[in-house]
Structure formats: C-alpha cells, structure tokens
Symmetry: C2
Subunit: 221 residues, 2 copies
C-alpha cells in the first residue's frame, strides 16, 4: 500500500503526546461517559492516529485506570491525619482544614470528579475490586480516626465504621452535586462550613431527640 503524503507530526516529546491523549480521554469520559466513548473518539479529540494510541496505552481500560490512579493519588495526598496533641491547631481547625483541602482537590478537577463518581464503578469486575480497595482504605483511615476520637471524647458514641460511611457518603454527594451544578471554587469555603457544622451538630432539632436512643449524648462539655 502506497501512502499519500498526509500530514504527520512525529518528533513530539513523548510525555507531551501522552498528556494530549490523557486529557482527551479525560474530557470525553467526563462528557459522554466511559462506555459511550470509543478509542476513535479519543484519538480524534487528541488529534492523533488510531495506532498512536496503542503506542502509549494498552487499551481503553488502561488509560482509564491510569487516570483514576493519578486522581486517587492526589486525593490520598490531600488527606492529613488529625493530631490531637498539636498545640498550634485545635482539632476543630484541623478537621476543617482537612475537609477544605479535600474539597479543593475535587473542585479543581471537575472532570475527574465526575468520572470517579459516575463511571468508575461498573467498568469491569477486576477494576471494581481495585476501586473497592481504595474506598476501603479511606473508610479504614477515617474509621481509625473516629475510634481514636471516641477515646478522646471528641467523637460521639456509635459504630465508628457506620459513622465513616455516613461521613463519606455525605461528602461524596456534596462534591458530586457541586461539580455537576458547576459551583465555583469560591464556594469551597461555604461547603466546608456546611459539612463541618453538619458533622458537629447534625441539623434536626426535634426536641426530645432519640427517645430510646442507646447513644449517650454528651453536651459540649
């Protein structure tokens, strides 16, 4: 087969080219969803030929995993351990700073946030397991912190694991909606405050409270 002249563009820094493809894939996944995006879509968006894609990634799944891995790493970095002994910052301050940092990462990576919360699950069983492991790590970390907090009397009684689920669920939905609704980066402060006060005090003020509630509810000292 003789090939017509055709435009080529070799000699492009490898890292740069990979970045082009990653970005194209990320944007398409966020816009149309993983399953609705084909390799042809990605290469068209990146402005490279089909074959080029395979020079950089094994297949569609691989580029997806790559994107998620990088994002998960960023999230992990944003999570800081709370140290109750820190004399410079109160626990409350640390907790708030933590929430703020996590929200910051997600709001600065809207495409990835959307992908993580909508497409990441259901790609294939092996990946689901991998993702579950990541979630478990986060849940585990938070659970430990909560247990520790209960020991110190700064976290109310209750099954720590369940509290962790409730917290993470609330945060997830908040982030998903913030990104979907296109809230600006500035709203991070407000969201942080809302979540913090939710975790501190809930919002129901129905008088008697939990009647036969087994949990002893200790007032703010």
């Amino acid at each position: 087969m003789a090939a017509r002249p055709s435009k080529k563009k070799p000699v492009a820094n490898k890292a740069e080219r990979q970045h082009d493809i990653l970005t194209a894939a990320r944007d398409l996944f966020a816009k149309r969803g993983y399953h609705q995006t084909t390799i042809d879509d990605i290469v068209a968006e990146a402005g490279v030929a089909r074959g080029t894609f395979y020079l950089y990634f094994e297949d569609k799944r691989a580029i997806f995993v790559d994107l998620i891995d990088r994002f998960n790493a960023r999230i992990s970095m944003a999570i800081l351990r709370i140290s109750p002994d820190d004399s410079a910052h109160t626990v409350a301050e640390q907790v708030r700073a933590n929430i703020r940092a996590i929200i910051g990462v997600f709001l600065s990576e809207r495409a990835m946030t959307k992908i993580l919360f909508t497409d990441a699950v259901g790609v294939d069983p092996a990946f689901d397991r991998k993702l579950a492991t990541f979630t478990d790590e986060v849940v585990g970390l938070l659970t430990e912190s909560l247990k520790e907090g209960q020991g110190l009397g700064i976290v109310a009684d209750g099954e720590p694991r369940v509290l962790a689920y409730l917290t993470i669920g609330a945060l997830k939905e908040l982030l998903y909606q913030a990104v979907t609704l296109g809230l600006s980066e500035e709203s991070a402060e407000v969201l942080t405050q809302q979540l913090y006060s939710f975790l501190s005090e809930g919002y129901l003020r129905t008088g008697a409270g939990g009647a036969r509630s087994p949990a002893r509810r200790h007032r703010h000292r």
Copy 2:
C-alpha cells in the same frame, strides 16, 4: 431450514414469562453489572430463546429502564410527608419511621439496590437525565421539608438544598454498604437509629465548634 424436534414451551402465561426474563436480567445485572451482561446471558438464565426476549422487550436498555422504573416507584411510595400537626406522632417519630421504611425497601431488594447505585448511571445520556430527574424530585421533596422544618424551628439553619444533599448522600452510602456487606434485615433498626442520631446531633464534639461559624447554633429548643 428444517428444524429438529427441539424442546419448546409455548403456552406460558405472558406475564409469567416476562417476569422470568425480568428476574434473570435483574440478577445478572446485579452480579456482573449492566455492561458485562449480554442478551444471550439473560435468555440463558431465563431459559428462553434469544428471539423470545425481543417479544417482551425492545432491547437491553429497555429491560433495564423497566427494572429501575419499578424500583423507583417502590421507593417513592415509601417516602411519606412529615406532618408537624399530627398529634398522634411526634416529628421525631415520623422522621424515624420514614428512615426505617426507606431502609426497609432497599434491604428487601438488594439486587436492585446494587444496580441502582452502581450501574444506573453511565448507561446512556438520555437515561442519565431521566435518573437525574428522579434524584431531583427526591432532593426537591426533602429540601421543601427542610425549609418547612426551619420555619418551625426544628431544623437548624443552613442552605436547605445542601442539607438535603448531605442527608441523601449519607443514606445512599449507608444503604450501599449495608447491601454490599450483606447486612441482615434485622440491622435496619440499628441503621435507622444511627442515621437518625447522626442527623440530630452529628458526632463531632470538638469543644468550641465552628469558631467564625456563620450559622447560629441553637440548642435543643
């Protein structure tokens, strides 16, 4: 083409046959996920021929939509409006009963719960919109209730819509984990109590609380 004897099984009540196919699809979707399940898988599980499937459903998407619609309807029915004037039941009781009923529906339909939370999003853009509408309705309903509650002084200050997101997110994650971990139906009571006390009081007891918190935090009553 002459056909060999082959086993047939006509004369099966239409509704019954449709139910067979629906059940097969539901179980497979829950086990392997929507995208990993083929029509061939479904008909094999249901014990009917490929062609039969198309007598009852337009395509794979249609049976999925059908399943989700039925489930959404059940959920909608489980949600009751809170009436503060009810002299027989306190608001606290009503809220708890509501949570309990919703958890009950999800725990009694584990397969659908898993499908709804893992595969429902990302099937195709049109269905995503449909699903978002359902979510919006639920969020809207809760938002209204919270606003009303704020007027009556039984819900703390704060953007009601955000509070709705936090609540629904917490509930979603709790349900998902409960189903994934295979918690028994009996745990519904415990989960209800945990969520209720979380909504009532949060769990952080970090002393000073929200420092420059804009929200006035009114004690019970």
